[in-house]
Amino acid sequence: MADKGILIKSLSKRYGGGETAVLALKDVNMRVSPGEVVGLIGPSGSGKSTLLKCLGAVIDPTTGSMVLGEEVIFDNEWKVRDLRALRRDKIGFVFQAPYLIPFLDVTDNVALLPMLAGVSNSEARKRALTLLTALDVQHRAKAMPAQLSGGEQQRVAIARGLVNHPPVILADEPTAPLDSVRAMTVIRILNDMAKRFDTAVIVVTHDEKIIPTFKRIYHIRDGVTYEEAGEGRPLH
């Protein structure tokens, strides 16, 4: 195991302190290998968003450890100095709403990430186009986000999540606004991309339609994770 991908051990997160403290995560243990897509499901208030924020390095976990690839990024404290660069280079985000930048066209929405990492504009756009082609939205490359359908926007958002080839993708309810056909398409794309770029993908979801597709599922209840084998239903 501990080869690549992401490994989380006894992670906890407490919000606030004193009498009003909330222990949102108590004991989170997860392991996602490169190329694997796992589901993370749990009732409201169980700590899903909190876990995503910890993994996404936008809030600080309280205790525990996180290993990304071979790098220990958290061990009771952050082990990386620049969390911004960590987010930019190591973690891809896909949200429920696509959250594209409305004033950039499709290509630049995707190319922005490599540009932020210092890649030249033309090289960044080339990378973006490769991904847009892989996701079959290359014909909309020059369109503005507002001119795209919901499904197209979601695919562009996935392309943006993948463009820096991060070892981990965090997807927060990526299929919520989509009908079942489109939802399945998104899940298939995430699986394809995971294999193609050796990415570990964590999908937070409530969506009954897609839950049977996961081979492994983490349930989270009151801040504690339980691993469970999924149906791993084939994607068509």
Partner: protein, 400 residues
Amino acid sequence: MISLAGRDILHAWGKFIFTGIGLGLLIGVTLTMAGVYRGMVDDGKVLLDNSNADLWVVQKDTLGPYAESSSIPDDLWRSILTLPGVAETANATYLTMQVGKGDKDVRAMVVGITPGAPGTPGWPPQLIAGRQITRGHYEAVVDITTDFQLGDVLKIRRNHYTVVGLTRRMVSSSGDPIVFIPIKDAQEAQFLKDNDAILMQRRRTEANSTFNRPGVPGLLDAVIASHTSNRFVNTVLVRIHPEFAPDEVAELIRRWKRLTVYDRAQMEEILVGKLIATSAKQIGMFLVILAIVCGAIVAFIIYTLTMDKIREIAVLKLIGTSNRTIVSMILQQSLVLGVIGFVVGKITATFAAPMFPKYVLLVLVDSIAGFFSILAICVLSSIVAIRMALKIDPAEAIGG
């Protein structure tokens, strides 16, 4: 790296253009206000330039002849002329009054000039039409902004004057156009009493037994004549020989004649520093208010533009955009707004300036100062928006 600010502006160009135009009109007003002040200063300076004098001799302890009233005997020029260093002297009178033509009248400064040749101190330096005054009475040279034409007949007090020449940019320090007339007429206009007053004065003098003595027949007439003659002027304009220093000659006149003498620099200080000081403060006050209003507009617009982008900024931060990039995006937008505003304002001011009744002088220095002030105002006004943007939590992009 692409310019986020630039892309956002292109995307929301309507907002930027319209706000920029609104701001621009305000900046136009601001530049024009500055131009009004410059125009007032320039009016004062051309008044001094055109009088072709090095020294102004006025009544002792007055700030005459422009800022305060001054009257000195009209034969003083003779004795000043004899002092070393003095090249030329000329009497002059200045009186701002209504000058009528038909049933209209115009506010003008009536300047009395001594007979002489062009170049005499006090004379209009050049004409754009007609000729200089050649007769001793009832001719006038007027500034074209009076709207009088050659051949028009003007009424000043009881007398009528024919316009024989037109000149340009001859104004008083308060911007009123100048009407030149011969000094004898001007003295009359300034000092002459009306007929009833003369009659009353005569009766009073006749009743005074000191003047009306049976044994001295000429005395009463002499006294009455001295009452009604107009032997005063407001100033003597002095030109000095180039090899003499103005302050030396001025000192001589002060010492020997017990009069107050101003040189060019002092006169300018009186006109600019005292006469228009209150107006200048008034304009300064306006400039401050306009600057605050400009700042408020920019602040409001930039704040709302940033508010509209909270979610995008959270996403940008989440995917690793540095605070510096986000701050510079907001700053650039605010500066672009300022630049659009300045360009619109500069154009507006340039086209509007000639339409103002008083002289509006747009100087490059003001434009440059205005430009940089606007940029500074824009930077300051974006502080609120920047602080808000910096507070946006990237976790917001992930949501609950």
